[in-house]
């Protein structure tokens, strides 16, 4: 069981949270070329190591936030509010 540090509520059990995927992908400008939109929707770096990702505290404060986690070990190194950087 991972203990996930919600920036608002503190450390809580993983079962209170919903995963939201890679936090580094950024929506392109509406008039950006199709290749950029394609990369945004489909392509992922999928790092074996540190991964910045989105989580929703769905059974708690219902707020999205960011987590930096090691995909090799599941160790969580940091968490931050959406308006903060990791």
């Amino acid at each position: 069981m991972m203990l996930i540090p919600c920036p608002h509520c503190g450390p809580r059990a993983q079962s209170e949270f919903t995963y939201g995927g890679d936090a580094t992908v950024k929506q392109p400008a509406p008039d950006a070329p199709m290749e950029e939109w394609f990369a945004y929707v489909y392509l992922r770096d999928n790092p074996k190591g540190l991964h910045d990702e989105l989580w929703l505290h769905s059974a708690g404060c219902r707020t999205w936030f960011k987590v930096r986690r090691d995909t090799r070990t599941h160790d969580i190194l940091a968490s931050a509010r959406m308006d903060q950087s990791l």
């Binding site: 069981m1 991972m2 993983q14 079962s15 919903t18 995963y19 995927g21 890679d22 199709m34 394609f38 990369a39 929707v41 489909y42 392509l43 992922r44 770096d45 999928n46 074996k48 991964h51 990702e53 986690r69 995909t71 090799r72 070990t73 599941h74």
Partner: protein
């Protein structure tokens, strides 16, 4: 040596001390006509069919650990071809046809057991969806039978088919030819047969880089030195992103852990494979007597080859909902495997946008049952430098072209498929 009743008797008389080794452990040659990365079922099958069907015998399989030490030895051994969409249905059906004759083909008992795969349905809406998929399968020439609740209760007496069950059973879609295969035997059987045709299987040899020359593959850098080749196939599902990145290719894939678990072994209690999409659960009984169970992904990117407790709890709870009598069993072991989860839930068996680079990956949960077809189609793609009709739709480009093969209609979220 051909395995037979006579070789078994002869070796029994000599105390089983004189069995020859099943495959060689050669040092890598400086160059090969084709190199396959990954010594699991898919890589070994690819090498076997390259040598057997296409006559390419100057081939190496590179494995960073030991044969079948990745997902080939971590799955729940289920084989089936009960898919709805044409590209998946025909590819998995090729696979099931190859499974049916594989023990004879390889002279190695892979213990294919056509015990049937039953998908339970728990609501009228699910019934409609199962009927639709069953009809699509039959139109594609694949076996499918719809069973009523009473028929299921008669066939599987320890399944809770009562009206007041938490998820009442309305019926089920059965694929009688589906079943299980002994997974380790698949790696060993393909390895032995490929080796006998001259394929070099090189273990403890990790690929650390891909050398390109003029935009085409020139060879691989490995922990045992450089190996030159102009045809390189990646059969490393779980790590496809990492290997493709060595050639500058980004994939629509995330790696996620899928857990499996077994109970302690008991006498035969379950003679078919039972799955439930509603409670996210599947179960079968191994020949050793263990109940083999699995459920959902862990739902966050992982390369850890182990899972977290919430899924173990969910799977055991689902098991007890459907099979209350199994509550007296103990959970013996749990483990995890790393799946390439694609953005549409279907595999990529294709040429990549680098000359001479091929992949079979993105198998999501479907990798083990696809092993023979994956090898057969990847070998064809390498030998002809073009896909076969059966993998012509399983391209990398389909994502940019809007030709997704999304069985569940879940959209571009890798962990939702």
């Amino acid at each position: 040596m051909k395995y037979s009743i006579f070789s078994l008797a002869r070796n029994a008389l000599s105390g089983h001390a004189r069995w020859p080794q099943a495959w060689r452990s050669p040092a890598p040659k400086p160059a090969y006509e084709a190199v396959i990365v990954g010594g699991g079922g898919h890589g070994l099958a690819t090498a076997y069919y390259l040598a057997k069907v296409h006559g390419m015998r100057n081939v190496a399989v590179l494995e960073k650990g030991y044969l079948g030490g990745g997902n080939t030895g971590r799955n729940t051994t289920i084989v089936r071809s009960n898919y709805h969409l044409d590209p998946n249905a025909h590819m998995y059906e090729l696979s099931l046809k190859l499974w049916e004759g594989l023990s004879q083909e390889l002279n190695f008992n892979v213990m294919y057991s056509a015990r049937g795969v039953l998908n339970l349905v728990h609501s009228p809406a699910e019934m409609d969806a199962a009927m639709r998929r069953g009809n699509a399968m039959r139109l594609n020439g694949i076996d499918a039978e719809f069973l009523s609740r009473d028929e299921i209760a008669r066939r599987i007496p320890n399944l809770d088919c009562s009206r007041d069950a938490r998820f009442p059973i309305h019926g089920g879609l059965l694929q009688p030819r589906g079943g299980t295969v002994r997974h380790d035997a698949v790696a060993w059987g393909y390895a032995r047969a490929a080796d006998a045709l001259g394929v070099d299987i090189i273990q403890q040899c990790e690929v650390v880089g891909i050398r390109l020359s003029g935009g085409a593959v020139a060879g691989v850098e490995t922990t045992q030195g450089f190996i030159a080749t102009e045809r390189l196939a990646l059969a490393v599902a779980g790590h496809s992103s990492q290997l493709a990145a060595m050639a500058g290719v980004r994939l629509p894939i995330e790696s996620h852990a899928l857990q499996a678990m077994v109970s302690d072994p008991v006498k035969p209690v379950l003679d078919t494979v039972v799955t439930s999409g509603a409670v996210h659960f599947y179960i079968s009984q191994s020949d050793k007597g263990e109940l083999v169970m699995g459920g959902d992904l862990d739902f966050c990117n992982s390369f850890a080859q182990r899972g977290n407790l919430p899924i173990v709890e969910h799977v055991t709870a689902a098991c007890l909902t459907l099979f209350p009598s199994f509550g007296r069993l103990k959970l013996l072991r749990t483990w995890g495997g790393i799946c390439d989860m694609t953005m549409d839930g279907s595999p990529i068996v294709a040429k990549l946008p680098v000359q001479g680079l091929y992949m079979t990956g993105g198998w999501c949960y479907g990798g083990f049952k696809a092993t023979p077809a994956s090898g057969w189609l990847t070998a064809h793609t390498i030998a002809h430098d073009a896909p076969h009709d059966l993998n012509a739709g399983l391209t990398l480009e389909r994502f940019a072209q809007g030709r997704m093969i999304d069985e569940k209609g879940a959209g571009p979220y890798a962990w939702m498929h």
